[in-house]
Structure formats: structure tokens, C-alpha cells
Amino acid sequence: MARPDAPVADSRALVAWGRLAAHAAAHGRRVSVADVCAVAVSSARLSGAWLAAARGGGPDFVMCVTDPVCEQLAELQLMLGEGPCHDVLASAAPVLAADLGDEEFSRRWPAFTPAARQLGAGAVFAFPLIVGVIRAGVLGLYRGSPGPLSEGQLGDLLVLADAATVMLLGSADGDAENEDGAALDGQAPDLALHRAEIDQATGMLTVQLGVSAAAAFARLRAYAYSQDRRLADVAGDIVARRLRLHRDPG
């Protein structure tokens, strides 16, 4: 099936989506952010994961945690107003604190770092769930023992963070969460998230539809899904000005 020169990206994303689907099926549910947390922990050999949606400016709505330590790590950051999850939303880049014993981190988060270590975290990793200006939330992870992520683990976590982002941005009205947490709603995952046309089309749709970037992105995905077409192809048509989307009546 794979071409000899097939890009690693598709295979990495495919494997990740396969694991998510298998994990959800084993629990008899649709794929949701809870599966992302669980699969992230097992594939990168971590101790725990949590996911917080960004309602306001910060990672302020905790949607799932895999263990009590995660719950405390997430709450600690909300309470203190500092920590890796705040930083990733500000910088739009992951924070990879492979060793919380490193003095850089006690300088950076003077209150969070000692408290996190006391809870038993040796390493904390946080990934922004972000597409350009669209901020959906944060995926947080910890390991009891310090140590870096391998290149492969980093790649897997980035792909899983993409999956969670897509789930959180699932509905146009921003009301993504339900009792399972944000879920994929039976939609086929689109693996080509990172194409310039998708971002350009999102920008164009903010004007065509008179909506925010998050809502424009959701409409783009919903349209591609309803037409059973690839997201990148629909985006290409919009950028080439062969296709326009229209405002919802009412």
C-alpha cells in the first residue's frame, strides 16, 4: 500500500488515528479527547495526560484527566496562573520540560515547579491545540521520571494534539463538548491538516461568512465532510475562487 517514497507524515498520522479508533472501540464509544489522552500516555510511555479547552485566555476548562496527579497538575496551573499550559497558549509552541529539576524551570515557574515535583512529576510536556490564530486548548502530559521525548514520540504527540484540536473545533458554534468530551461524530479524520490552502481558505471564509476564524474553519470542514471531499481539495477550490460558501440563513 505504501509507496517506497511515501511521506512519513501520512503513516505517522494514520497509525495515530488507528490507535485512537481502536482505543475508542475497545471502550464502546466514539473517538473522543479522552482517547487522545489515553493513547498519548501509552504511545509516548508517559505517566498521565490531561486536556484543557481554552474558553477564555487560559487553559481553563479541564475536559479529561487520566489520573489524579494530572487533575492536580491542571488545577495547580489554573490556581497559580503560571505553568507550561499557560506558556503554550501564549507562545503557540510546545513546552518540553524534560527535567523539572533543571533550574531553568524553577526560575520560569517558581510556584508551579516545586509543587509539581512534590506531586511526583519529573517531566512535564504541554502542546498547544492551535491552528494559527485559532486557540482550542492544551494537551498536558507528565512522566514520573525526568527524561527527554524521542523524536518519534514527539512526532506522535504532535499528531495526537492535531487530532484533539480537530475534535475541539468540531462544531461551528463552539459548543464542542458533550458528556463524552469533544468527539469526532463519525467523521473520517483528514490527515492533511497542514496545507497552506486550508489556512488561506479559512481566512477567506472569515470574510465570505462574516465569522471568526474558528467558525470559518469548522464550516470548511463541515462542507468538505458533507460533500465527501478532502479538506485540502475544497480549500484549493476556495483559494482558486472556484467555490464560495454562503452565510447561514438566519
Binding site: 507524515a9 503557540a92 490564530v133 496545507r195 479559512t202 481566512g203 471564509l205
Partner: protein, 244 residues
């Protein structure tokens, strides 16, 4: 070789790096100057995302056709090979028979390019991306030009990893993701502006960049403010006087 332009280029690049700067704007300046210095028709900086993709950070033209040529190299092409081997990779004639990368060669030739060169962006033992040069004429690049091209690729690496502190290995991955997200923000802004003014993507990019320069702001900040704003007015209504 235009030696005056060459020295001006390194002065400009060094000047930029002395102060706080926008990494995408910096890489764009670098691709612009690569084209002018190296008798190339187009240039781009492509970064290796740990997801396993090559992604465009900056290009001398923001036209979709050129960006597509970089994206295509996720399947095959000199950038992918350069990234995998860490060595410069060249194709001297993309229209001849027996092409090593037939799909890439076809697409490049259709866009009017006959020769291509990819130079690695290396940090110690790690390859983080490549500088890709396209030319309309077939034939080898001049060896003296290639040494300058490699120097420009090295400057691109330094600019990209402008963090004060590279003591932690993880900082490289963090900086790379920040740059890639900046690029997404800029694409979203290009789309919004192109739609608002019925202009092409390249023109939209130039307008965003000119406005950022003229108001002494970072390109990414200008782009983010513009996409986040409820209105599509551009230039944005004056909120405050630009500094300086």
C-alpha cells in the same frame, strides 16, 4: 556575483538579528535576497516538522503554485532527499528523460523551472530543513554561488533558532513549532486580505509585510491582529500611533 548586494545582504540579515525580530519576515528577506544574489528564479525555506512533513516557512513568491512545489516534496524531490541525507542535492535539468523524481520534475517544469538545488539547514548533527533554489535555465549552479547559498542556509538556521538559550535540546523543537504556527497565522491573514480586496496571495503578503515594516511591528503580530479582528478593514483603523 554582485558583491555589493552580497555584503548588503549580510549586513541587513545581521542587523535584523541584533534586535527582536519576526522569524518568518526574516526568512522571507533571506529567500528574496537568495533569488537576487544567486541568479535564481525562486527560493524557499522548508522546515522539517517532527510530524514527518516538510513545511514551507518562507518563499520568495507567495503564489500558490510555488508553495505547491515545496509541499509536493513531501512525496519526492530534492528537499526531501536533502533533509534525509543532510547533503546538498541538485537536479540540473528537470525536463530531460530518466528523472529521479518524475512527479516533482513534471510539476516544476510546468511552472517554468529547469534546475533546482536544495541546501541543508544543519544544527550540529540535526537537519532542521533546507533552502531550496529554483532556476529557469538548465545546468549546474556556479560553485561559488553554492558556497554563498550554503552560507545563507546557515544564517537561516541561526535566525530560526534565535532563542537566547539553546542549552536544552528541546528548545530547537519548540522554536520550530512556533515558527510553523506563525506561518499558519500569516496564511490565514493572507486569505482574509486577499478575499477582502480581491487580490492574489502574493500581493496580500506584500501588503501585510509592508504595513508591519511601516508601523514597526512584527509581521506575525500584524497578521494575528488582522485575523482576530471582527472587521476586515485594512490597513486597520488607527488604534494608536506606531512607535518611532
Amino acid at each position: 556575483m554582485d558583491t555589493e548586494l552580497l555584503s548588503d545582504t549580510f549586513v541587513d540579515l545581521a542587523d535584523t538579528m541584533v534586535a527582536d525580530f519576526d522569524v518568518i519576515d526574516f526568512l522571507h528577506l533571506l529567500t528574496d535576497r537568495s533569488v537576487r544574489l544567486l541568479a535564481a528564479s525562486a527560493a524557499g525555506v522548508v522546515l522539517a516538522d517532527p510530524r514527518g512533513e516538510l513545511r514551507v516557512a518562507a518563499a520568495s513568491s507567495e503564489e500558490a503554485e510555488l508553495l505547491e512545489l515545496f509541499q509536493l516534496q513531501n512525496d519526492q524531490g530534492p528537499c526531501l532527499e536533502c533533509f534525509r541525507t543532510g547533503r546538498p542535492v541538485t537536479a540540473r535539468d528537470l525536463t530531460g528523460p530518466l528523472q529521479r523524481w518524475p512527479r516533482f520534475a513534471d510539476a516544476a517544469a510546468q511552472s517554468g523551472f529547469r534546475a533546482v538545488e536544495a541546501l541543508p539547514m544543519r544544527l550540529r548533527d540535526q537537519v532542521i530543513g533546507a533552502l531550496n533554489l529554483f532556476r529557469a535555465e538548465p545546468g549546474p549552479f556556479d560553485p561559488a554561488d553554492l558556497r554563498i547559498a550554503q552560507a545563507l542556509a546557515d544564517v537561516a538556521t541561526i535566525g530560526l533558532l534565535h532563542a537566547r538559550n539553546l542549552r536544552r535540546r528541546e528548545t530547537v523543537a519548540e522554536q520550530l513549532q512556533a515558527a510553523l504556527n506563525s506561518r499558519v497565522v500569516i496564511e490565514q491573514a493572507k486569505g482574509k486580505l486577499a478575499e477582502r480586496l480581491s487580490i492574489d496571495m502574493d500581493r496580500a503578503f506584500q501588503m501585510l509585510r509592508d504595513y508591519a515594516r511601516n508601523t514597526n511591528q512584527h509581521l506575525t503580530d500584524v497578521a494575528r491582529d488582522f485575523v482576530d479582528r471582527a472587521t476586515a478593514e485594512f490597513p486597520p483603523p488607527a488604534r494608536r500611533q506606531p512607535p518611532g
